[in-house]
Symmetry: C2
């Protein structure tokens, strides 16, 4: 299968790298001659404008995707056209306006849910899509063999294909990704005018809730504008919940139930997020180890853990404030806690007293 990639940024170049390594013939084009040459030099494919590719993948910035799809449908009258933009309905609507029905059958929108904090060809990775969901949007008119071409590409690069309706996709990503981005950015923005002594009280909770506020404003403006109605709908839901909490705080003490209810609802919503590998969240125990900031400390810790043969499910490192000390939380299955605690303390690691000496409740 010959695959032509239009747009050699992070996603296009990563796709080219992976498909090339899996034996596909990949051609590349980009408005920027530098970008396409860089991608070709990295091994993502050949810089070329092919006559008759089997599949064309549009990986341009989201705000021009629809126009590029329409052009591609005209340029390559036999090709299956797909794209990798993170919104689907607005693009499909725009493409519909400028194509005939028969042409439209050759367009299958898709959305690989992969990305990095860095952008451009230079940040590309052949394994970017490995283990990630790749949403494919088809309908009853989509020819089966064209659908299979897109699915084959997604699976070739290691992604996990999900077939979704475009509107369902857009409302879902608005809720699990786009609105959380807006809210995290707004929350981080509340820190701008704070005195430093106040920001110094920030803990790991604030770091986690605002981590994605580091995202690129240019890209996110395109994403949010492209899914504006769905994102606005979720933000209205959030605003209405916010209004209820603000009202409850204003008229206290008559309204503790609303406040408690909002925190409890957060528990319920949080419980819906799947655990690792899409399964129900597993219950692990955490074992905490205190570490100083000397070079090599963490590496020694990991060497010791490796020696104990305990399977670590997850790790969280929490840096202390003001002193050269941090703590490492290791998640393990309950059956391994004792081995880990005993082994680490025998190796001289500092663990919380309670972990070392768990006296029984009488």
């Amino acid at each position: 299968m010959n695959v032509h990639i239009v747009g050699t940024g992070l996603l296009g170049t990563s796709l080219g790298l992976s498909l090339s390594r899996h034996g596909y013939r990949v051609t590349l084009e980009d408005l920027s001659p530098t970008a396409v040459q860089l991608a070709a030099d990295m091994g993502a494919g050949e810089a070329d404008h092919p006559k008759d590719p089997d599949v064309v993948v549009i990986a341009t910035p989201p705000d021009v995707v629809a126009q590029v799809i329409v052009d591609a449908l005209r340029t390559w009258p036999n090709a299956t056209i797909t794209d990798v933009a993170s919104v689907k309905t607005a693009i499909l609507d725009a493409v519909k306006q400028h194509t005939r029905d028969r042409e439209l059958d050759r367009y299958i929108g898709s959305h690989p849910m992969a990305g990095r904090e860095k952008s451009g060809a230079i940040a590309a990775r052949a394994d970017l899509f490995m283990g990630r969901p790749w949403v494919v949007c088809s309908d009853e008119d989509t020819p089966q063999e064209r659908l299979e071409q897109v699915v084959t590409i997604a699976q070739a690069v290691g992604a996990s294909v999900m077939h979704l309706d475009p509107l369902f996709h857009d409302s879902s990503v608005a809720r699990v990704s786009h609105a959380p981005q807006v809210v995290a950015s707004i929350m981080a923005a509340q820190l701008i005018d704070m005195p430093s002594e106040g920001v110094a009280l920030a803990g790991q909770g604030l770091r986690d809730t605002t981590r994605i506020a580091d995202s690129d404003p240019g890209l996110w403006t395109q994403i949010l504008a492209g899914n504006a109605a769905e994102v606005a709908a979720v933000l209205r839901d959030i605003r209405s919940d916010l209004d209820r909490v603000i009202d409850a705080l204003d008229v206290r003490p008559g309204s503790l139930r609303t406040i408690a209810g909002s925190i409890a609802a957060g528990n319920d919503g949080r419980a819906r997020i799947p655990g690792k590998h899409g399964m129900a969240p597993a219950t692990y125990e955490t074992v905490t180890v205190y570490v100083d900031d000397a070079p090599g400390t963490l590496s020694r810790l990991f060497a010791d853990i490796g020696g104990l043969g305990v399977n670590i499910e997850d790790i969280r490192i929490d840096h202390a404030t003001g002193v050269k000390l941090g703590s490492v939380e290791l998640s393990v299955v309950p059956a391994h806690v004792q081995v880990l605690v005993q082994g680490l303390s025998e190796n001289g690691w500092r663990l919380p007293e309670q972990a070392l000496d768990p006296k029984e409740e009488k």
Copy 2:
């Protein structure tokens, strides 16, 4: 110094454990005979009602702290009284209403910024306060020797003392902790009614932004009600930013600037959060390693990293969806990237192609 602790939950018991190990004579009391006996059995101190303690630490649930402080000022007319509640102004106001000026001089509010996801004496740790900020609220009338008693206790358990005005403390924690808790809970609650196929699109970003939504509704209702005015003020700021983004999304395309501005403001706010040990955020490079889910994989990885002698600054584990594969992001100083990448790949670890073969830009 004799220290009496009233309330043997997570904080009170942890404080007792640590002070006892540092040679302080600690006595304990709690409304629950079981709780105080458990704390005593764990080694947090002696269950007793002392005649003349030097310092009394009130570590009861926040909603009864003020009343317990007032009672303690009466019960022990020579003692310095402090508390560990996470709000300070409302407590001080309530204590003022029920005490004379001379009595009030013996009360010094404090707030150790430490906690766990678990509660109760059984979750206590002698090292809970290690490296954490411990806010002390005094004013010009506070006798120096009493202030020093509280500071000495905080430092004895390894905390880093910050002297702050109660109102400044409350408005700061509203912004860096209480309002983010409300927002994270509200955001997580948006997932409750979603179809599972939609929630399955959730990535690491949503996991991070909603992690603290797991918090205890009972405790947080007390905290939020105790700092209601300050939390409501921050939530109003957030709501007004949210309104602007919703309006911008509604009237697009005339308002991209507002959308981009909100994401960019998030970048600016995020940049204000101190890095580890309270210093300016350092710039690390991340090296990604792909790992399968076989038992012992992470342990082998850490053993190999240990063998390379590279200092790992931070770790993030990202679990893939639908397949048994995850990725581990290791943060290291730029000078160590090459050693780590080469060493790991020589040991047979799967790294992103780009990391292994970084061709130069022409």
